[in-house]
């Protein structure tokens, strides 16, 4: 199980991209995560599922630097890392796309994509031409054809908004994109769009963690499912090993369907 920690060269595909070991997190007296192990491989789509309050978001916030775990270790590309702020996570290449929190609705697409990381000419003046060109480029890289980078986010559909947020992660060379409930407020058609973006990310060699409590949304795209129940990992299964019904039962009861 132990990893070659000092390895400097490019890690082989056997080494997982992210490996979290024995993560414990308390909120006061609430033991939110009880020694969770979690890993994501290279260009792998992992569905992190569980009922409300199972600890999915807490686990992800530990990985993205919003919370710091009391106990446990995180390895990124085989090296032990300490992630204590969202900036730390971003430096490693972990981008989190939070539902409805990621975009400023009245600002243009390109201003949103480069928010806080504007390319500048000199004296801090924005390179608008580059912003517009590159935002259109990374949107079309996702298969999202939008008419102009100057459109405000507010006129886009829910699926397109997720697309813009994902494109931002893509542009800043993320290695791992965490999608927190990306389909929660979307129509069926928009959900299909988001699933298409996720497939595109995998083709680009980017790993994805897809958090949801709707198994039917994640089932078509994920290769592996991790089920959390009340702060503990109750299952870690490949797609072929279990049916949707069995997984649903697992989420609801916290136990495997018979046997």
């Amino acid at each position: 199980m132990n990893l070659p920690k000092k390895e400097k060269t490019r890690v082989d595909d056997k080494t997982p991209l992210v490996k979290m070991v024995g993560i414990h997190k308390w909120f006061g007296k609430v033991h939110a995560l009880k020694g969770v192990d979690f890993e994501v491989g290279h260009s792998e789509v992992v569905g992190l599922v569980g009922d409300n309050g199972a600890g999915k978001s807490t686990l992800i916030k530990v990985l993205s630097g919003v919370h710091v775990a009391e106990k446990g270790e995180i390895y990124f590309e085989g090296e032990k890392v300490r992630i204590t702020s969202p900036a730390d996570a971003r430096k490693l290449g972990i981008e989190t796309v939070y539902q409805e929190q990621a975009l400023a609705p009245n600002m243009s697409i390109s201003r949103n994509i480069f928010m806080g990381r504007e390319p500048t000419l000199s004296l801090g003046f924005m390179d608008k031409k580059r912003m517009n060109e590159e935002s259109m480029k990374c949107l079309s890289g996702l298969g999202l054809q939008l008419r102009s980078p100057d459109l405000p986010i507010a006129i886009l559909s829910g699926g397109q908004r997720q697309g813009v947020a994902i494109a931002r992660a893509l542009h800043f060379k993320a290695k791992l994109v965490i999608l927190d409930e990306p389909t929660i407020a979307l129509s069926v058609k928009e959900t299909q769009e988001v699933l298409a973006f996720i497939n595109k990310l995998r083709q680009e060699g980017i790993s994805v963690i897809f958090i949801t409590h709707n198994l039917h949304h994640v089932f078509p795209v994920a290769e592996r499912f991790v089920v959390l129940t009340l702060g503990e990992k109750t299952a870690d299964v490949k797609k072929g090993d279990m049916s949707v019904e069995e997984l649903t039962e697992l989420i609801v009861t916290g136990r495997r369907l018979h046997n």
Partner: protein, 353 residues
């Protein structure tokens, strides 16, 4: 070209302003509104309120208010006059006044951001605090001010170019351009919009929203100091009532200019025109010999109607992308087989001038 002009967000404010100017010019007896004498007074007087209103507008875009502008102004005026009384050289006195304005802005900002209280409350408090302090220190007495000590310094703020064009209007335009460039072309402007539009998103993307807000407060404070100096030199005396009632007029100017009270929406061009609308109404009603009491009636009507117009325009823009044309269908031709290309917009009309 014309199409792009009408895409411009603040175009409706500009049209309202132009309309008002035309109407007032025609209505005023003997065209008194556009007479050189009136224009000279207008260009010297209106910028005093206008300069501060520009800063307040930018502050509103990042989601905060400043009700204490009049009080910062009067305190700065007092400091400036007091320093000149003790024979300090005016440039140095001016520098100290600017410094005090900046500090007062900083105080507003820090209390709001660190205390996590709405700036409406913070600045309501500092409004009373600084006005009261000024009254205490000055005993409410008018103080004379003589500009003779340093005519060069004074002419920077209130001189007349060619003996005609007052310096104040140039300051107003200059501040407008400076803030406009900062807001629309500098990355700081992008942070201001992001902070006002979705603070959580801005913070998640690594923008220090607290610092952005504090800087905007400081800018307002510095502009108050600038106007304080300008006004003292023009009037040649200190009055403890300077700047009274400006705080809500400045909010009104920004709102008329299309700025959202929630933050995130607005443009410097719009705020500039909105400010001009307010000062033009004030001046023109006087020139039309309409009793001053009517001014506030007109202000009220203009504020409400312009907010209604802005809301209507905003909704139309969300639907069609422009005020008068349907531009969405024009920009890129939809590629077949991609469902993402023809979303909510229904009619594929191709005519646009």
């Amino acid at each position: 070209m014309i199409g792009r002009f009408f895409l411009y967000r603040s175009v409706n404010v500009l049209l309202v302003l132009a309309g008002l100017i035309v109407v007032f010019s025609l209505l005023s007896p003997n065209f008194a509104f556009t007479s050189p004498d009136n224009l000279r007074v207008f260009f010297a007087l209106a910028p005093e309120f206008g300069i501060i209103a520009l800063g307040v507008g930018m502050l509103m875009i990042c989601g905060e208010f400043d009700l204490s502008i009049g009080s910062i102004l009067v305190f700065c005026s007092f400091v400036f006059v007091r320093l000149s009384e003790i024979k300090m050289s005016l440039p140095l006195a001016g520098l100290i006044t600017f410094f005090i304005g900046a500090i007062f802005g900083l105080i507003n900002g820090v209390i709001t951001v660190r205390g996590r209280i709405p700036s409406f409350i913070t600045t309501l408090g500092t409004m009373m605090l600084w006005r009261g302090t000024t009254l205490l220190l000055s005993l409410g007495i008018q103080k004379p001010f003589t500009a003779e000590a340093s005519p060069v310094f004074c002419s920077i703020f209130t001189g007349e170019i060619n003996g005609i064009l007052p310096a104040q209007i140039l300051w107003f335009i200059g501040v407008g351009i400076f803030l406009g460039v900062l807001l629309h072309f500098h990355k700081f402007g992008n942070w201001v919009y992001a902070t006002g539009d979705n603070k959580e998103a801005a913070r998640a993307m690594g923008i220090n929203t607290d610092r952005v807000k504090i800087i905007c407060f400081i800018i307002v404070g510095i502009l108050c100091a600038l106007v304080a100096i300008m006004q003292i030199i023009r009037v040649s005396s200190f009055s403890s009532r300077a700047g009274q009632g400006w705080e809500l007029k400045a909010v009104a100017a920004s709102v008329v200019g299309g700025t959202s009270l929630m933050g995130g929406i607005g443009s410097m061009m719009g705020i500039f025109c909105g400010t001009l609308i307010i000062v033009v109404i004030e001046n023109a009603l006087t020139m039309l010999r309409i009793p001053y009491s009517w001014t506030y009636v007109v202000f009220g009507l203009v504020i409400i109607s312009s907010v209604l117009i802005n809301l209507y325009m905003e909704r139309r823009k969300l639907k069609y992308g422009s005020l008068f044309f349907r531009v969405f269908e024009k920009v890129t031709p939809p590629s077949p087989g991609n469902s993402l290309n023809n979303p909510q917009k229904k009619s594929p009309t191709q005519h646009r001038n």
